[in-house]
Symmetry: C3
Subunit: 136 residues, 3 copies
């Protein structure tokens, strides 16, 4: 059994955003067991899991990532779409655009502290499209 839905996220600012509730609210009927794949249709954003409790984790993750992969890397040549563009492409491939989460006993099988987080790496990313696929 396959269930599939494309959703459009609200416009997010550059940074890391907790979207567990947006994902679960868009799943109309969850099977007792299976797998959920979340797929971001963009090359300057990512989908990750990280701590859902303390917002400072998301702030630190964003700050460190900007330090690790700076907009200002002097050898970037793909710069005509803005100074945040090439760094965003690199972050997107490193953090990943596809994640698969088990469904266990009719719920997402996340650990206690795991939240689904959308990484917007552009200053003006706009509305982002995400495909949800459930296998059961």
């Amino acid at each position: 059994m396959i269930w599939q839905k494309e959703i459009i996220l609200p416009k997010f600012s550059r940074g890391i955003h907790l979207i567990t509730d947006i994902i679960t609210e868009n799943i109309e009927s969850i099977p007792s067991s299976g797998l959920l794949n979340i797929f971001v249709k963009h090359t300057s954003a990512a989908i990750i899991l990280n701590e859902n409790a303390d917002p400072s984790v998301r702030k630190d993750l964003d700050n460190f990532t900007r330090h690790l992969i700076p907009d200002e890397f002097e050898k970037f040549t793909h710069i005509f779409e803005g100074k945040d563009d090439m760094s965003a492409h690199i972050k997107s491939s490193i953090f990943g655009q596809s994640i698969t989460i088990p469904i266990v006993n009719g719920k997402l099988g996340l650990g206690t502290w795991q939240g689904i987080q959308f990484c917007e790496f552009r200053i003006n990313g706009g509305n982002r499209r995400v495909v949800l696929t459930i296998y059961s």
Copy 2:
């Protein structure tokens, strides 16, 4: 057909650990073809594939990762759970908490040199929970 099992790993020291045998021993019956998803229920650990032969690969990977994402990054604000906590969260999202491996001819379809490796990024991570899901 879905098969699913949650397992608890032994307490591992901070570093990279080969767990291919632990994974295969916990799969009671493997289909002829399908996919295995391995999902770590924590935000300060990861699951990867890397060389299974020379232990120096795991040591170098751990050392380089500590260099790349240092505990001592001066702008970390999420520091009340220990100096190894925020670096662990970042490593966990970069290396990933979910991996999908094909099952081919009744075996994991790993390449000759690929081993399943658990990354413990905390000094005292304790027992870690992992969900195995097989689709066939």
Copy 3:
């Protein structure tokens, strides 16, 4: 329903290579909906999604990755397989050897700008094996 095929890629030079066409040409029959998993059977290469239009994105990604994870890191001990070996193992685990892409309306559900890209991290990687698995 499972469809599975192992393919052998042409020998690629060190760098990032667009292989969307190679992947789609090897899928004999695509279902209306499902998931495609692409799995690289090697520990010094990776599979990612990134911008498919401007080749400078792939060049910049390769250059930045060599800067971030340099061959010359002085603490590497796994050096007997060549100076590009240990850096390749690290890049391979960071970028990932497995990716899952939704199939939507009988096509890969990629965004407009997303291309499937093979990352060859060795100077002489040779022919690389990739397993394609489709669930429908």
